[in-house]
């Protein structure tokens, strides 16, 4: 059980870290997709089947496509990024320092806290149950999310589709 988790974690973290390190944007995007797939695997491991598939469908099937499209549309040089200038090296250093510090603090906090032991089996939740929950208890939230999505997509379309040239990629 834990072995599986650790394997998943290695896939997930490794590909995420590699994605952030690669110079080639397409490689980054593809590695990130692997990382998202790892997240889905984690959900599956945790017994959240529905969420796992939704994760794959939306992240791997949709968001990744938009990302790839964006990368292709904004390609400029064969080398994705120019050689690091001092300023950006500074940025990189700061960023990594901040991230490491955050990691340290959070890990300390997690390790020092105590949780009530979990149930042995995953809570059984059927798809129907999720649907009912969504519609009843979280109906308002669902509506709001729907509105946000619609507005965001409209905005994205308007942003990307300037000079009357409609591109299909703007509608994820």
């Amino acid at each position: 059980m834990t072995t599986a988790l650790i394997l998943i974690a290695i896939l997930l973290l490794g590909s995420a870290a590699a994605a952030m390190l690669r110079r080639n944007l397409i490689h980054s995007a593809l590695l990130l997709i692997a990382s998202w797939a790892g997240v889905a695997a984690f959900y599956l491991w945790a017994g959240a089947e529905f969420v796992a598939f939704a994760q794959v469908l939306i992240y791997v099937g949709a968001i990744s496509m938009v990302v790839l499209f964006a990368v292709l549309l904004t390609r400029q040089n064969p080398v994705a990024e120019l050689p690091a200038e001092p300023a950006s090296r500074m940025r990189a250093l700061t960023g990594i320092t901040v991230a490491v510090c955050t990691a340290a603090i959070l890990s300390a906090a997690i390790l020092s806290s105590k949780f009530t032991p979990a149930a042995d089996t995953a809570p059984q939740t059927s798809v129907k149950q999720i649907g009912l929950e969504l519609m009843h208890r979280h109906g308002t939230a669902l509506l709001i999310v729907g509105v946000i999505l619609t507005v965001a997509l409209l905005g994205a379309t308007i942003l990307a589709a300037t000079d009357a040239k409609e591109k299909p990629e703007d509608r994820p």
Partner: protein, 400 residues
């Protein structure tokens, strides 16, 4: 001759990297204009839809064409040079290989030019036979062209194979008459080579009679198809003024609404004795060019039925015509016919020797490509392929 000037014109676009990296100067200029990322694709000379070894250097913005330069010469077989070193008769089989889909009409064009050069009369029966061959060739060419066009539009060969099924029937006729499927070498100066038997004529008549049935089926298959309409209507529009100025001829010109058919204008052969109509398009787009072919085929069937009805008896060859040692009088002549692709002309200068001094082919396929770029600009790659298909080129004739 200033060869340095030649190289001065070498504005060949350098091959860019896979992502439009260091491209040629022209591409850069376009880049600044359009402010997008351009991709330069070289379509051909080996490409499924360039109808042979034609090449288009296409600059793309996304899928849209911002520049298209045709490159010719991959099938430049020096036909004209060879003809200038060969006797008049010896060039006849070479004309078969110009427009290798329509050897019969190319033969005729050449024979016509030589007859004009030498003042050679042609017996009536031969004139009728020539018309029969030319119109059969038109049927063959147009149905194949439509098949190829559909192929470019993305069918999996089905219409092309139906067209070739009918083509085989016509080729069988040609073969049994002239001895060869494609390279008929049938016309001679002053007549034709072989007189068809009554059975042959009967078979040809039956074929022409049944052809409309095939055409109906062919049209039912895809003419009304919504995808076909959307893919061809409004694509590659061409207005008549430009078309005339660019010297376009044949169905491509008539699709733009210009009434110009050499069969009617020159009245060569015995065409004035025939009752047929010339269809005209209104929009000058790919669909019109397609429909011109279909309608012309229907008119050809009419001409054929009249020809079979009126075919006179008599010799097929002027008895005074010479086969060997043919030396036309000094002078020059430009003979032209309405080949299935447009105006096919032969310009001959004779200095009285057995070989032509100058032998020039006016290739409709080449000149019809003059406006290819203008027709394609703003459309997508997929459309460019279709527009090219609708022009109907044969590389043997384009490059000669």
């Amino acid at each position: 001759m200033s060869t340095s000037q030649v190289s001065g014109f070498n504005t060949q676009v350098s091959a860019p990297g896979p992502f439009g990296g260091p491209a040629g100067p022209t591409v850069r200029a376009v880049h600044d204009q359009f402010h997008g990322d351009l991709l330069e694709v070289s379509m051909g000379p080996q490409h499924p839809s360039t109808h042979g070894v034609f090449r288009m250097v296409v600059t793309l913005d996304g899928e849209q064409i911002v520049k298209l330069k045709p490159v010719f010469g991959y099938l430049h077989r020096n036909h004209e040079k060879i003809a200038e070193n060969t006797s008049y008769l010896g060039s006849m089989p070479y004309t078969d290989r110009l427009d290798y889909l329509c050897s019969m009409s190319t033969n005729w064009a050449y024979a016509l030019a030589v007859e004009k050069l030498d003042g050679q009369p042609v017996p009536d029966r031969a004139q009728y036979l020539r018309i029969i061959m030319a119109e059969l060739t038109r049927l063959l060419n147009h149905s194949c062209l439509v098949g190829f066009l559909f192929n470019d539009l993305g069918t999996s060969f089905t219409p092309l194979l139906y067209a070739f099924r009918e083509r085989e029937k016509i080729l069988d006729l040609f073969e049994s008459l002239s001895g060869s499927r494609m390279m008929c070498n049938y016309q001679r100066f002053g007549g034709c080579r072989v007189d068809p038997s009554p059975e042959w004529l009967e078979a040809a008549r039956r074929l022409a009679e049944n052809y409309p049935r095939f055409l109906d089926e062919y049209e039912a298959m895809l003419t009304g198809n919504e995808i076909m309409l959307a893919r061809t209507q409004g694509i590659g529009r061409l207005n008549s003024t430009h078309a005339i100025n660019a010297g376009l001829t044949g169905p491509v010109l008539r699709a733009s609404g210009v009434d110009y058919d050499v069969r009617k204008i020159d009245g060569y052969g015995v065409y004035p004795r025939f009752d047929f109509r010339v269809p005209l398009g209104a929009h000058g787009d790919t669909y019109d060019r397609y429909m011109m072919r279909i309608l012309e085929m229907r008119e050809s069937v009419k001409i054929l039925s009249q020809a079979f009805r009126d075919l006179p008896a008599g010799p097929i060859m002027d008895p005074k015509a010479k086969l060997r040692g043919f030396r036309p009088k000094a002078g020059e002549a430009y003979g032209r016919i309405e080949s299935p692709k447009g105006e096919l002309g032969f310009y001959l200068i004779s200095d009285g020797s057995p070989n032509p001094y100058r032998y020039r082919v006016r290739p409709p396929s080449l000149i019809n490509l003059t406006l290819l770029e203008e027709m394609c600009l703003g459309h997508t790659v997929a459309d460019a392929v279709v527009i090219l298909g609708s022009i109907d080129i044969v590389l043997g004739e384009v490059d000669r």
